[in-house]
């Protein structure tokens, strides 16, 4: 699975950050893995300077944790951090969904429905990682529809960390639960029903939280590099 970017021009730090982010969101790179500067640089064909920019950007976003003189590791949120992520989402997303409902256009609806279709397609193809990533982007899309760039940015970070939380604490693997919740949300948005959208989002987040197992302690020692398939 060669990245087509490497053929043309040296990818920018943002491009590398995006690629790594997607890999983490799709659970191809798991919490605890180390991202060596040399390794990443060689993979993407850039010097360490650019890699460091990307890694530090992801660290500021909470996706990576940089330990001085040790390197960058995919974050492993503690149980407390996991709860905090969903508590923050509970504060931000329901109201945002309500605001989105009052601003949704027909084009937005089409986009969201197409998004859900992609989720289904990924699930049918047994690409749960891809489906999970799309599922997260659905929430970001709603924040975008609400026309709240600042909040959307926060939600993006929270969804990102949620991906880590799910990787660590998810209970069972059959993740086909979300589809209906998302579909119901789209319906509420289509009918401009802000109150329902807010309630649905709140319930949806509680649902997600309830499917986590926040007792166990995470542990893992993981290899690397081939998880990206390179």
């Amino acid at each position: 699975m060669m990245n087509d970017l490497s053929q043309t021009r040296p990818p920018s730090a943002e491009a590398i950050a995006r690629a790594l982010t997607q890999a983490v969101h799709e659970h191809r790179v798991l919490p605890g893995m180390k991202l060596s500067e040399d390794e990443v640089g060689e993979i993407f064909g850039v010097g360490r300077t650019v890699v460091r920019q990307a890694l530090r950007a992801l660290a500021h976003q909470g996706l990576l944790t940089i330990e001085r003189n040790r390197g960058a590791f995919v974050s492993r949120p503690s149980v407390k951090e996991a709860r905090e992520v969903f508590e923050a989402r509970a504060l931000l997303e329901p109201r945002t969904a309500r605001a989105a409902a009052e601003r949704t256009t027909a084009y937005d609806i089409a986009l969201l429905e197409r998004h859900i279709d992609l989720e289904h397609a990924a699930l049918d193809a047994d690409q749960t990682g891809v489906a999970l990533n799309l599922s997260g982007q659905f929430h970001i899309e709603i924040a975008r529809i609400a026309d709240q760039a600042t909040i959307a940015d926060f939600i993006r970070q929270l969804v990102s960390r949620s991906s880590l939380v799910i990787a660590l604490y998810w209970r069972r693997r059959n993740a086909l639960c979300e589809s209906h919740a998302h579909h119901a949300l789209v319906k509420a948005l289509r009918t401009r029903d802000g109150a329902t959208a807010e309630d649905l989002m709140k319930g949806h987040l509680l649902d997600l939280l309830s499917q986590l197992d926040l007792r166990a302690q995470p542990d893992a020692k993981l290899s690397l590099r081939d998880a990206l398939g390179r």
Copy 2:
């Protein structure tokens, strides 16, 4: 006003970021100002590498805006962004204040009251910038008391941007309004009155927002360097 760090060891990127952040929060460095890498590096006695880390960190936080091949500038939030900042704060802070009320310890109360004293002292000394910074930190302190690290981080960013918004859109200069609101909040926290704390915080944020003039277009071309007093 020499920074005592420069005498001992080269300050870290975090230290530089903190110093710059404080300077911006205290309105000694104003929105639109350019932060040249060489200049900052010379001031703090470090190479550009470390400066870049600090600048990029602040950019990720929203305090600076980095334009490629042009440099780092203190962000100048648009009117829309200004509204978004306070809308995000309205979502996060009231609930957080309620949570804080239910967890406040006697030590926290003492800390907050001492904090308010410092605000008063700064105001009496006509150091409105310092007072403003302390006023912002008060909000961060409440998030810390609520024991919500994730949300506290978001609030920290929002308070930071609020400082920029105030620099651009503040209506009148006599900023002695906050003291009472903060004092009332502490009282609610002391009595473990979460509902009142939530209401007070909500009102306080609306109050702040109402004192902004969000019609005018900001513009300024500002000198630099001596604003830091170096």
